[in-house]
Symmetry: C2
Subunit: 211 residues, 2 copies
């Protein structure tokens, strides 16, 4: 278990510190568990937040988008806060006050840097596709130089980061334990449904990764 | 269909405007479809993002937390951007470049205001619980004045808001249509699993809302 540097003033969890984690393995696991993050940043005089697909390349979180995107350009010019959250359950208590959710969330602070090198950029995009479906990259129509050039890949070190996890049952006040209402946890998960093959797909067999 | 005020410079969608919506009904539907939002704001010299449960009360998005939370206090003192996103599918194209996701996301700009009136605050929290399980509020141990006082409820007008939706199939380049790789959409959804009754729950029958 790799411990990140000591929590910074920004990442030290103040409220409910029993839910806090700071080790790199836990940060990586929470990042890997979700396909979409939210990037918060300042641009053009306002705070903005952008939900976007992410993937992990070692100790960096990567995102991508169109080179022409002014928001993406702005990300390399200032600090941001990226959050990744998976909601794992509804915690239904005997009092409204103790209702809660089970979740895993990460907050990462820092500044994105652009992946400029074309080979590195292609490798990063390959890692993105392979995370969706192992083996798929080699089956795709190869990426063109023009497409690579039109795509910005940004990466953020998973360094100044913290995780909060709640993964336990109902915690009610002792005097409420006999209250006559159902108490328990309703698990939530993101699941894949039956794949919808494109009508024009010449390959009709659904890949095992989606089966 | 209620149309919100014309898009502001902050909410007007510049990239992929065919995915943009600005009407109030669509904003409300996207807000209602997810249980957790991300609140981006500036505090203490940094940009922050906070994943947190939300619910809707008419034309406001509500969040809540501990009165002692300094972050929540900061939200009433400055502008924020709240995003809500549901990920509905992986769009697997014939080229890496045209891979995409189906999603519904909302961005709402503005400033939270605290719900100070105790009766209003209780009604807002009731709406939060009822959205999880209709009829549950009346079954719970009643909320105490101390609990109400310890809880901050904040609300944000769903006024300066925009939605982006992608809900269609694979779009590949014409010359790639015969490429021999499976193309299609893998639907994703958040689903509830089998409820886990608390070992000490005196009521053992799972409510219909979770059955």
């Amino acid at each position: 278990m790799t411990r990140l540097p000591a929590p910074s003033p920004r990442t030290r969890v103040r409220r409910l510190p029993d839910r806090a984690h700071y080790d790199a393995d836990t940060v990586a696991a929470v990042v890997d568990a979700a396909r979409v993050c939210t990037v918060a940043f300042n641009w053009n005089g306002s705070v903005h937040a952008l939900p976007t697909a992410h993937w992990r390349e070692g100790d960096h979180l990567c995102i991508h988008g169109a080179r022409a995107s002014r928001m993406l350009q702005a990300l390399t010019e200032g600090e941001c806060c990226v959050t990744v959250a998976s909601i794992d359950g509804l915690v239904m208590a005997r009092s409204a006050f103790h209702h809660s959710m089970n979740y895993r969330s990460a907050a990462i602070y820092g500044r994105f840097e652009a992946v400029e090198d074309a080979a590195h950029k292609e490798a990063a995009l390959r890692a993105f596709i392979e995370a969706l479906a192992p083996g798929r990259w080699a089956q795709l129509r190869p990426v063109s130089a023009k497409e690579l050039n039109a795509t910005t890949v940004l990466r953020l070190p998973l360094a100044e980061a913290s995780v909060k996890i709640r993964n336990w049952g109902v915690k009610d006040d002792a005097e409420d334990m006999d209250w006559p209402v159902w108490a328990g946890v309703v698990p939530l998960a993101t699941v894949a449904g039956a794949p919808q093959t494109d009508p024009d797909s010449v390959v009709r067999e659904v890949p095992a990764a989606f089966g």
